[in-house]
Each structure stands twice: as C-alpha cells, then as structure tokens.
Amino acid sequence: MGFGTYVTARVMWAAVVSFIIVTITFLLLAAAPNPDVQRAATQAALQGGDPAAAAERARELRGLNEPLHVRYLDYLRSVYTLDWGWADSRSQPVTTALAEGLYYTAQYSVPWTILTILLGPLVGVYSAANMYSWKDHLATGFAFFGYAIPNFFFGIILLLIFGVWLDVIPVVYDTSVPVFSVANAVQLSIPVFVLVTGSIGAVMRVSRNESAEFQHAAFMKTAKAKGVSPLRAYAYHVMRPTLVPLSTTIVGQLLALFLGSSLLVEKVFGIPGLGRVTYNALIAQDTNLVLGATLAFTFIAVFGNLIEDLVFTVLDPRISYDDR
C-alpha cells in the first residue's frame, strides 16, 4: 500500500469516528429532556394554560414529534451541512457564535502550539545533551512544575501578580485592541505562558528521555567519525528519531489542554473564546450551542489524531503502511 492509499484510508477512518461520535451525541440528546419544551410547559402553567398542550406544541414546532430515524437523518444532514441551528442565548447562528469564539481562541492557541512544538523538543534535547548538569535540573524542575500546577490556579496567581499588582495586563481580556498589536501580545502573553508551561512539561520530559537514548546510539558514533559537528549531529541524528515518539505526546498534550484547560484559562482571563462560549452556553442551557461546541471539539480532536498518524509515518520510515 502506498502513502496515498494510506492517507485516504486514514481520512476515511477519521470520518467514520466523527460519524460515530455525532451519532452518540444525537442519541444522548434524544434521551435527554428538551429545555425548550420544558420552558414552554412552565410558561403555559404559569399563565394558566395547559402545560401538556403547550409542551406538545413546542415539540411539534421543533420537529420532536417526528420518528427517531427521521430526526436522526435530519440531524445528520444539518451537522454535515454546517446548519447547526440557532443559539438562543446569543441570538445568532451557532456557527457564527463558534466562529467568533474561535477567533479569540486562535489568538492564543496558535502561539501556544508553536511555542510548545518548537521549545519542548529543543529544551528536552538540550537537557539530554547536558544530562545531570544544573541546566538539566533547572529544565526538569520547570517541566515538573508546569506539569503539576493546575493551569487555572497558575493563571489566577499570574493574573494577581501581573494584572493587579504590577498592572501590566488588563484583568479582563480587552477585545477592543487589534489582533496584531503590542497590546494584544502583552495581554495574551500570560495566558499563553500558562498554557505553554502546562503542555511543555510532558513534551520536554519525553524528548529528554528519548534523545538520551539516541545520543548514545551507535549511529551517533558513526556521525562523529564522519566529522559531523555536535550541533549538526544533535539536530539531525538525535532530534529526528526523537520526534517520532514525541509527535504522539505533543498532539496528545495539546489536545488535552485545548479541550480541557483552555476553557478554564479563558474563564480566568476573560477571553471570549471557544471555551467561554461553551461554558456560557452550558450555564444558559443553550442546547444548540452546547451541541455545536461539542461537535467542534470532536472534529478538532479527530483532526488532531489524523495529523498525528500522518506525521508519524512521515517521520519514521520503518512504519509500513500495510496492516493498518
């Protein structure tokens, strides 16, 4: 099987996975009571009407009286045509609400991802090259610190220091500043720092331990005997094989943080990103928006894993495209 076939097969698997998740989401949603219907019934009861009739009308209005399979097909069509419904709590389409959230999430996620991918392996390999020196211990201490401290707590502490005491960043994220401006970079630096410390720890540890093995490999002696400089030897002969197992860690760490901690960090720093949109939708019981956010995170996770699989095969030529 060639690389093209492999990629096609992998993409199709990703589609199947997302389809399964979409189906499970639908079933959960169908089993749960609809807040709109409940609200209509409550409203009717308060105004002296018949709550049962009002509930029935509300169900009819939203097509909930249709058979399950019809609703399922309708739902599927909506999901894949990006017709994700109306976000009542924000009075705008769900896709628009998510796009607005993504606009702010991307502003800190892109620098955060780039910094993690660049700095994590570099510091890890540097650590391995200077193993058990004070530099290594410093990096290791930093890695464990970032790994151990909860992001939202670390965020609050830094916000207290830099937002309240030193007053260098706004306590609540200022959406009025242009995206590419110094003010925006400054106010995003602390949330990005918090997230980088959270994700870089595992990346540093894995790259340090993997490269510690490769820097003593026989092919490093070959490289040395060829007259390759230490810098080049580390850049080519240690970094490259290290990136293979590391790609799994990087994607896993970034996704886990993106789906979990970024929500908390957005809440702490008041960034109106995807996490905050989801959080507010949950509070407001805006089912459509919660569903939309769930699907968005699902697709991001599936896409991330797809990228990881593809990167893996590109990085390690020994992984064959067969049997998978």
Partner: protein
Amino acid sequence: MTDDASPLLAVEGLTTTFDTDDGQLVAVDGIEFTVEAGETVCLVGESGSGKTVATESITRIVDSPGSVEGSVRFGGRDLLSMSEPERRAIRGYEIAHVFQNPQDALNHCYTVGWQVVEALQVHEDVADETARSRAIDLLDRVGLANASTLFDDYPHELSGGQKQRVMIAMALIGDPDLLIADEPTTALDVTVQAQILRLLDDLRREFDMGILLVTHDLGVVAAVADRVVVMYAGKVMERGSVLDVFERPAHPYTRGLLDCLPGVGGTEGGIPGTLPDPLDPPDGCRFAARCAYAEDACRTGEQPAEIKTDPGHHASCIHYRPDRDESVLEDAGREPTGSDRGADELPNDGVSTDD
C-alpha cells in the same frame, strides 16, 4: 622507535582512561604502533583488551568520560593536540571508520544515500547531484547491486552485509588515507565476512590507503595483514610483520593465541584464565598471571619495555632482555611433561607453535 622515516600514522604512548564510579579504568595504557601508507596493520587480542578503544582514541571519538593522552601523529600533525574542529576536518575525510555492528551504525530515519552523502558534504562544498552520483558510484564499487535505487532505501530495507558495504562506501567517499575498521565482519555471516575482507583489501590497493584492522580472528590476520599488533589488557604485547609474528611468535601470549588456531595448535581450551581487572591491573607484565613462563621478575614493576627480537619485530617480555636466555620459552614450551607445572595449567605443552 618507528621503523620508517615518516609513517602515515604513528601512535606513541597512547593512554585512554575512563573515570568510572569504581575508579580510574585505564583501557589503553601507553601503546605504540605505526601504520604505513597503503599497508594493512591488524590489531589483535581477545575481547576487552582495549583494541576498540585504541582505534577510537586515534581520532578521539571515544565516549565522553574517556580522556586520551599520548601522541598520535598523522601525516606530520599531532591529532591529539590539535583543536576539535581541526580534528573534525580529518575525521571521515582523511581518517575514516568502519564499525563492528552495521545494524545500529546507520540512522534509521534517513536513506542510506543521505547518510553517505552527509559524510562528503560536511567536508566538501559539493552540489547535491554531484554528491549523489559520487555516492552511487561508490555504492556500486563496494559491490551493491542497483546502487541508484538502493541510494533511496532506508537502512531497515537492507541486509547486514549490505549495510556494512554502505558503511564502507560512507567511509571511502572522502577518499581517506587511513581506514580504521573495527571488527568489520564480526556481526556478519561467514560467507559475507570473506567478501567484505576481500573488498577492503581490493579497495586498499585501489585507493592506496592504509588500513588499521581490528580483529580477533587470526585467520583474517594471516589473510590480509602486512603487520600485526598484539594487544593484551591495554598493552601492546608484540608487534611485527605478519610473517615474523606467525613464524616466530615471541611473546608467550602470542604463542598462546596462535595455539588456539584450529589445525595449528591443536589444543583444547585455549589460554587458561581471564583478563586482569582493568580497574586494578597487576604489577609487572599484564599477562604474567596466565603465562606459563612467568617468573617472579615478571610480576613486579611495570610492563616490560619492548625489546627488538628481529628487525621490525618487538615483544614486551623480559625473557628477551640481553642478559637473559630466551630459549627458556622454547624449552619449557616444548617439554611435554616433567615440569613442575600441571598439565591442566599448561595446555600448550608439547605443541610446537612455529611449524
């Protein structure tokens, strides 16, 4: 002490020490030998005698806790006193290495062609296409079929023998004056071993380079060597031309080694005993504890200084001192029984080593 005016490689007083948790480990202890241009010198000795460390000390590629002292003169320059960048310019370009195990010696993430070309491009500013065609020429020259397609293969797609040929091509692409081959055939099939050795010998002639070949296979030595250096426990026991060493082995250790050859010595069991502890080497001759001819004088002081037994043939054994009678070695060695030593301690008894 060199036999020629200016040999290609002259190693003198080479000492390599590793600082370990248990103390100073002197892996190579003041050894001396030379390699002339275009000749093959074999470094022989049993496992753990410091052969590999000795070869890696020449271009100073020993692993990090190792410290190298002494003098290694290569083409009039001292490799040990020059700066690391200067040494790097020589490694892989003027002095190339081929290692014991080709399975791990290539990086699994890069094509073999990339790795061969790297050896050239770190030294010369060569265009990619030129480097590629030179590499393919060499891959073809070292006996790899379909060199142009193999160039883009990854190491895991090659057999052990093919990988070792790639390693040889990689070593030769800089047209080195000296090739250091550290047991290049040990990890390979017996049938492939002979091919690789023949290839090295052909290439030596074609490229007019000196070869320092590490081996513990005396059959290989007999086949390819011009001169032999016998190492034991970090010291040189004997060195000389292959004819001298095989015909008139001087040091008792060399005699013991030759006796181990099937069909030559005909003895079972080899040399009794094991190598001394490298962290705490014994006084006197390193081999004394296993030597059938050792006397009290062998067990005190330093390793005996090298003594010329023939022109260009040296041995580190006190029995060759002018004030001593070296025939004691012959007598004791030839005596079937009747000595005060037990037969089990002396399996060499009654066996002639030089006929």
